[in-house]
Amino acid sequence: MAQYSAELDDVFVALADPTRRGVIRRLGRGPTSVGDLAREFPMTLPSFMKHVRTLESSGLISTLKSGRVRTCVLNRERLAVLDDWLAEQRRVWEDRTDRLESFVTGTEENQL
């Protein structure tokens, strides 16, 4: 759970910036080279690369280098992490109820 929370924090931090949200939006249209992406944002290439690295370390995008061109790709399943916390809590409570049920209906309960 703690690990899940840390993953979630990384994703939220990565998305908390308009440039990085812009990159995600742009990559929704398909993989794009860093050079092409950078041209769409009013900043220096080194500044832009910082955003790319933040997105990459959050797992929201991956980058592939081919020759001298680095291409960014959106990891769609990573966006799903944002919606999964409730499913995770449901699973915790369902498993817990399974264990309670097998405890109260099993022989173990009578031995205490």
Partner: protein, 157 residues
């Protein structure tokens, strides 16, 4: 009940209500099912009354026990209902529960086959949601992520 934040669960358990109640309120019994094996549970405090402490620890090796839950009971109706929250800890201090603060309501009712066991868990905003405000999201988070996902999907080639 807010379907985006809360969950409900209902189960018929083939055991009498008093047995289910005892499994919840007796520390030796609670320890047997509260945490999934192979981890072990130790119940530090189980004061089953309004305002009472609910503190459990867990161990992976049976030697070192680390904090698991530090919560307080809000409502206790004998054999009928238990409500507890981790939004305040066992000392009633407001707590930053991760990934999300919750209030759990467990209700027991008689059923021809045993006990009708119902759970409603009401969640606060996920911890990360509090973070987003600090980081300057302007819209509701659900809307932002929903739109973002939709947009990313719809702009796929």
């Amino acid at each position: 009940m807010n379907p985006d934040l809360d969950l409900t669960l209902e189960r018929v358990i083939r055991a009498p209500r008093s047995t289910v109640w005892r499994a919840w309120t007796d520390p030796a019994r609670l320890e047997k099912w509260w945490i999934p094996a192979p981890s072990r549970c130790r119940v530090d405090r189980l004061e089953v009354r309004p305002g009472g402490a609910f503190v459990t620890r867990l161990s992976d090796d049976g030697a070192d026990y680390v904090p698991h839950l530090d919560a307080a009971f809000l409502v206790v109706d004998e054999l009928e209902r238990i409500v507890f929250t981790n939004a305040i800890d066992s000392a009633w201090r407001p707590a930053a529960a991760a990934p999300v603060a919750m209030t759990a309501e467990i209700t027991l009712a008689d059923h021809p086959d045993g006990t009708l066991y119902r759970i409603v868990v009401r969640h606060g905003d996920p911890a990360a949601r509090a973070l987003h405000e600090k980081l300057g999201f302007e819209d509701g988070w659900g809307m932002v992520t929903g739109q973002l996902a939709t947009m990313a999907e719809s702009e796929a080639p």
